[in-house]
């Protein structure tokens, strides 16, 4: 017999952000873009922060960005991460502007420079959830 490992936190999916997580499951990274003024932002917002329009869509982005910074967690704030400490968390600046928190795959951030190019890669947690993560650009 083996115990089920403690669960990791999952995204709180609501009417505003459902499109993002549906697209991620289909292998597409998106940000919310205003249909009226074109402003791009992430996370999602019930109205466009630039023009207050309610007409917004989850628009595909290139999946390319730069490493803005990173942190290595030596403390597990959730039991689900206890087996993974010390694990990395990165801050990515997407080409299209918005920033995203994620994890770096295929390398450790200590071996990269702030400003290095990254690209999205999709990690399926289970049938219902896929997390966009990042790796050094051209690593495939």
């Amino acid at each position: 017999m083996h115990d089920t490992p403690p669960a990791k936190p999952r995204p709180m999916i609501d009417a505003t952000n459902r499109g993002f997580w549906d697209a991620a499951r289909a292998g597409t990274l998106t940000v919310q873009r205003c249909d009226d003024c074109g402003h791009s932002h992430y996370p999602g917002s019930p109205v466009c922060p630039n023009c207050l329009s309610s007409r917004q869509s989850w628009a595909p982005v290139s999946g390319r960005g730069e490493l803005l910074s990173w942190v290595r967690f030596h403390r597990a704030y959730w039991d689900g991460f206890r087996e993974e400490v010390p694990y990395n968390v990165i801050l990515v600046g997407l080409e299209e502007g918005p920033m995203m928190i994620s994890n770096l795959l295929g390398a450790e951030p200590e071996s990269l420079q702030v400003g290095e190019a990254l690209e999205v890669v999709f990690e399926a947690v289970d049938d219902t959830l896929t997390l966009p993560k990042f790796r050094p650009a051209g690593a495939a």
Partner: protein, 377 residues
């Protein structure tokens, strides 16, 4: 043209301050601690407590219960949320209310029972957008910023250590402080990592305690026990654009704090060179570096070099957090630092007194950045 808010210059005084002991007090609660701080602040200024007709509370659950306990039925009440950035926000609100005549004597009470109640600042207690990636906590946000500061400007963790070491030195001179053992740069380098590059000694304490400040107008202040300490300058600027990435700013709130500094210095008619002591919100040690840059004590990117060699220590160029700050005195979320500013101006600080302190500045570099400049009345 002079900004309209400059009319508050030297109009409002802090007349009474009080604080509890700091530590782990499971036998009482936040109201009990708040009442103790209030009683001491009332004694400090010699006011009849029933003259207090303005009440601001922060991190206390219910303003009306606090009023009930203190026997107060004021005509001005504000409840501030349990966020670290509220202290100067509350003091400025009270100053505006006093100037407008909405109350005559305002008591601001802050209490924290985070130590005895085992509060965490991350994980399930504060769910966020980035939890699925294992990202949480204000400390991690400051780790992200400091990592970026190191990458952009070559700042080192040994330079960061100067902040914690200087502030611990001050705590050793403060009888109220929680941490009383001196530390060295090597101790900082050897401390266990929490959210690398930040280590344990880059983190504020979590402890119980309470603080109270009593404010009134310049005219009313004359009748009270001690020499008033005037609010001579204030500055304020929020940064809400990336609030879903809490406690983080890609540019270290530099532009916002520049704005805050321009407002506060312009109103008070002083500059960074006139500041005798700085009371700098130090939730995490990097915040002090970011503050020094935004306030103009050094240029952006140069704070690491600026703090080397004991700049922030008593006797140094810019004595900072002379009570030991959040890092080593008490996690009173800015409130105790404002009390320390008042006591420095009054000359009540004993072994940690800055000689002839005439201009003492409080600053908080956060998503709601604030500064207050205090001078003798």
């Amino acid at each position: 043209m002079t900004p309209a808010f400059h009319r508050l210059k030297d109009r409002i005084a802090v007349v009474g301050v009080g604080n509890t002991a700091y530590g782990n007090f499971p036998h009482t609660d936040d109201y009990g601690l708040g009442a103790e701080a209030f009683r001491r602040a009332v004694e400090d200024c010699g006011l009849d407590k029933n003259q207090v007709d303005g009440l601001g509370v922060c991190r206390l659950p219910y303003y009306a219960r606090m009023g009930e306990i203190l026997g107060l039925n004021p005509r001005w009440t504000v409840q501030f949320p349990a966020h670290g950035r509220m202290s100067a926000m509350a003091i400025i609100e009270a100053a505006a209310a006093l100037e407008a005549g909405l109350c005559d004597y305002a008591a601001l009470i802050y209490a924290n029972i985070g130590r005895s109640r085992r509060v965490n600042y991350g994980g399930e207690e504060s769910p966020g957008v980035w939890d699925p990636y294992g990202y949480t906590s204000p400390g991690a946000a400051h780790a992200l910023m400091f990592q970026r500061h190191m990458a952009l400007y070559g700042t080192t963790t040994r330079q960061l250590a100067e902040v914690s070491v200087a502030i611990r030195h001050h705590a050793c001179l403060n009888p109220d402080a929680v941490m009383k053992q001196p530390i060295t740069i090597e101790d900082h380098e050897a401390a266990r990592p929490i959210t690398a590059p930040l280590r344990l000694l880059d983190y504020c304490l979590i402890n119980d305690g309470a603080v109270c400040l009593i404010l009134t107008t310049k005219e009313r202040a004359r009748d009270l026990r001690k020499r008033p300490v005037m609010i001579s300058g204030i500055g304020a600027r929020e940064a809400y654009t990336n609030a879903s990435l809490p406690n983080f700013d890609r540019n270290f709130w530099y532009d916002e704090v520049r704005d805050v500094a321009d407002q506060a210095y312009g109103m008070a008619g002083v500059g960074p060179g006139d500041v005798d002591a700085l009371m700098c919100y130090d939730n995490f040690s990097p915040t002090v570096l970011f503050s020094l840059e935004g306030l103009g004590f050094c240029k952006q990117g140069e704070s690491g070099g600026f703090v080397e060699g004991g700049t922030l220590r008593l006797g140094g160029r810019l004595p900072t957090n002379t009570d030991g700050g959040h890092l080593s005195n008490s996690y009173m979320q800015g409130w105790a630092l404002n009390v320390e500013a008042v006591r420095q101006i009054r000359g009540e600080c004993g072994a940690r007194q800055v000689p002839d302190a005439q201009v003492v500045q409080f600053a908080a570099t956060t998503p709601c950045s604030r500064s207050i400049i205090y001078t003798p009345g």
